[in-house]
């Protein structure tokens, strides 16, 4: 049960409040749904709504997004048009007006599709700890255990080159469905050959993961159906899907090569 709701005005004040077991509240689209339906121990919330953590700052080729920025704010920003299809694939407008960029980092599978995109974009995080700020790559952050005393302040990545960013989310419905499989990639090509590539996956493992075997199988190869079929086969080592209400592990494994090809080739 909720016993208090705090509204700190700064990130520092928020971190201080977190030190006594209080629980962070972003948009509430995950946490409030759980609190509404299940009994909980006495819980104090720390809302980030007034902590000054929302905002989008592109500076040259670097994009910096405050962790409390809502998904709909991302959608409305013309400078982030390459992320529009990512945001549109998540939930629906009245949820996106509340859901935050930072919150998407913590939601359980098969949710967290913005995180998949950010991982492919090599994002790094500005964090605030009890003993001061730190920076961590999103990949390292996702590999580490969740810290309850730490605040994600900002997400930062380099704007992808034209047509470098690819994204596909396969769901049960065309709109408003969690993922059967989400695939995001940042591709650097020379002619038709892959010079460098990042591939991130959602809905296919215990968390959002890098598809390192897929990446290794594609570097130096042409980006075509044949290479992708080989890469998908290698990529079976990257995925460990589970059964859930959206799809079975068997099904996810079965369609993974198809969605990988569609994400990267558009067909």
């Amino acid at each position: 049960m909720l016993t208090d709701v705090h509204l700190p005005q700064t990130a520092e004040a928020a971190v201080e409040l977190l030190q006594d077991g209080r629980v962070l509240l972003g948009g509430g689209t995950s946490l409030m749904a759980r609190l509404n339906d299940y009994p909980s121990a006495p819980t104090e919330l720390v809302s980030l709504r007034r902590a000054g953590l929302a905002g989008i700052q592109p500076s040259g080729s670097t994009v910096t997004i405050g962790a409390a920025t809502t998904l709909s704010a991302l959608l409305n920003d013309q400078r982030l048009s390459y992320l529009a299809k990512v945001v549109r694939s998540i939930a629906s407008p009245p949820v996106r007006s509340l859901a935050t960029v930072g919150g998407n980092l913590f939601v359980p599978q098969p949710h967290g599709d913005l995180t998949v995109a950010l991982l492919a974009l090599d994002a790094e995080l500005d964090l605030l700890n009890p003993d001061g700020p730190s920076v961590q790559s999103l990949g390292d952050f996702l590999d580490a255990p969740v810290r309850r005393d730490q605040l994600v302040v900002r997400v930062r990545f380099s704007k992808p080159g034209p047509s470098a960013f690819r994204f596909l989310k396969a769901g049960r419905r065309r709109l408003n469905s969690a993922a059967i499989a989400t695939i995001a990639a940042k591709v650097q090509l020379e002619g038709q050959r892959v010079v460098d590539i990042r591939v991130a996956l959602g809905g296919l493992a215990a968390g959002v993961v890098r598809a390192r075997h897929v990446e290794a199988a594609l570097v130096g190869k042409p980006l075509d159906a044949a290479s992708l079929a080989v890469a998908a086969d290698e990529g079976l080592a990257d995925i460990s899907p589970r059964d859930d209400a959206y799809a079975s592990a068997w099904y996810r494994t079965r369609v993974f090569p198809v969605h990988l090809r569609r994400a990267l080739l558009g067909r």
Partner: protein, 182 residues
């Protein structure tokens, strides 16, 4: 924690409501302010029957703690009609038989209002996306979608009729209205 007062501007009027930590914007609107038009369907943010406009943005009010929205403006279904005169979108729902049990209707209309505020000339796909978070168990959605397109057309037509000659030149012509079959 003792109760606090949350100050809101609801449908244009200043309201103060008593809120506890567990009070959501939904329960506050319904129980503290007596505005029953906004519905509780799932308390999960999944059905959309609790959709209201919070500072102009559509939100699922069941997921918003009342204590975090002190000072905000809220628009609910009750704020649309002028006395007994329904607004153009509400009238389009009525004329198009877009409501059966009516439970989803306030949420549908608030999502549509948010859409039209941002995009006065939506496509079918725009409407589908705008109401993608609003579930209806009765109608099969077709009449809701055509009522929203019809309401959008009525609003554009009225705006064009009341526009100055300069504005009128700038406004794009209205498309053919969607005929609601009876």
């Amino acid at each position: 924690m003792s109760a606090r007062i949350v100050n809101l501007v609801v449908n244009g009027s200043r309201k103060g409501m008593i809120a506890y930590p567990e009070t959501t914007l939904l329960t506050g609107l319904r129980e503290a302010l007596g505005l029953m038009g906004t519905k509780r369907g799932c308390a999960q943010g999944a059905c959309g029957s609790c959709t209201v406009l919070l500072d102009g943005e559509p939100v699922v009010s069941c997921l918003v703690p009342a204590l975090v929205v002190d000072g905000s403006s809220v628009q609910t279904i009750e704020g649309l009609a002028d006395g007994n005169d329904l607004n153009d979108l509400q009238q389009a729902f009525l004329d198009g038989f877009a409501t059966q049990c009516g439970f989803c209707t306030p949420g549908m209309i608030m999502s549509a209002e948010a859409l039209l505020a941002r995009n006065p000339d939506p496509t079918l796909e725009d409407v589908n996306e705008a109401i993608s978070g609003n579930v209806c168990r009765c109608t099969g959605y077709e009449r809701i979608v055509s009522a929203i397109l019809d309401g959008a057309h009525r609003r554009r037509t009225r705006a064009a009729a009341t526009a100055s000659p300069e504005d009128r030149d700038a406004l794009s012509p209205a498309p053919q209205p969607t005929e609601a079959t009876s």
